[in-house]
Symmetry: C2
Subunit: 215 residues, 2 copies
């Protein structure tokens, strides 16, 4: 029984890691499509999001079966519950990548991002996708300090998000209100994506070390 | 044992209803503060949000104890798991009301909402808070059709959200880019709040009827 349970926990962990890899890929591809106004690329991201929804449901169903059949206690119970929490957040990461892709599709064939903000959005895409990569590693092999590190990187995302808002609200902004509002929302999708990464990292560090990690 | 469990389920349900009432109040007060540029009112909403965070944690802790001590099966297990899911979403509703209040505070003493959009934001506040009221009733006494009704109301919120985006991106917009981007984000907070309500309603209807409700 115990061995079965342990095996199922590993499967659940692998499922979370797979989901997180898909979310990282989605954000990477969504950013590429955003910066090159690539309609086909954006549509691929939109199509791929359904997989994450299915995996989330599978994760919850597996957790439910483990609870029903094995009634785990203490730290095992916490691990199962945290998997459900994390699956929900990672699915949301996919949704946010989907929102970026959706903006690209809606605005196509125009470019959403004007030249002076291309570097900023490229950085947002690179950093958030690589945060999700780091989260995959943390899910596969949780370690103390991982949350604090990702939380540090999240500050960079916050700074880039603030830089976008600064640029679009400056008097020198020449691309009009529709582009500005669109960019404000897209920048927020990246910021929220990074928030979810940090939130999952915190939860995983807590359940694996038993100590609430500090930033 | 069974009676204890049933009593604990009722407590968990009452806790969710309390959380949802607080989220409704938060959105109502946040909207009043937004429309009257009331700093003190906005700060009250911000201060109150901590309670919702505590209640969410309490909800999860109670659910964990119920799972550990009583190892519920089948529909009882689904009820406990869904309570954790719902608590998380309702806490997020509180966060979104907090974001509205935060915008009011940041922009104070200026008004965020110009006269021509006051009615739209008043409607957004009224409808979303009353969706949360309806959700309280649905939590207390789940019934078939509640999700479909709330989903219908959500379309009104989507329309109002689209109306805000339409107004701020029109050529006749006279309040500049910073106000426009700010309003785009605030309108999104209302839209996301309504999404959470619908998501909780769907889950509750599913676990109480056993049938995935249709829109």
């Amino acid at each position: 029984m115990r061995e079965t349970f342990h095996g199922q926990l590993i499967e659940l962990r692998d499922l979370l890691a797979t989901m997180c890899t898909k979310a990282a890929t989605a954000m990477r591809h969504a950013t590429e499509a955003l910066l090159s106004a690539d309609l086909a690329g954006a549509e691929e991201v939109l199509a791929a999001d359904a997989e994450l929804d299915v995996l989330r449901d599978e994760c919850e169903e597996r957790a439910r079966q483990m609870l029903a059949l094995q009634a785990p206690k203490a730290s095992d119970l916490r691990l199962v519950l945290s998997a459900v929490y994390c699956a929900d957040r990672i699915e949301r990461m996919g949704d946010l990548a989907e929102h970026v892709a959706n903006t690209t599709r809606r605005v196509h064939p125009s470019h959403v991002v004007p030249p002076e903000l291309e570097e900023t959005f490229a950085s947002l895409g690179k950093i958030t996708a690589s945060m999700a990569d780091d989260l995959v590693a943390h899910i596969a092999c949780p370690r103390e300090g991982s949350f604090a590190e990702l939380n540090q990187v999240d500050h960079q995302v916050d700074d880039l998000h603030a830089a976008v808002l600064g640029t679009i609200t400056r008097d020198t902004w020449q691309h009009g209100v529709p582009t500005a509002t669109c960019l404000a929302l897209v920048a927020r999708f990246y910021e929220r994506f990074a928030d979810q990464v940090v939130s999952v990292a915190k939860r995983i560090e807590f359940v694996s070390t038993g100590v609430t990690p500090r930033a």
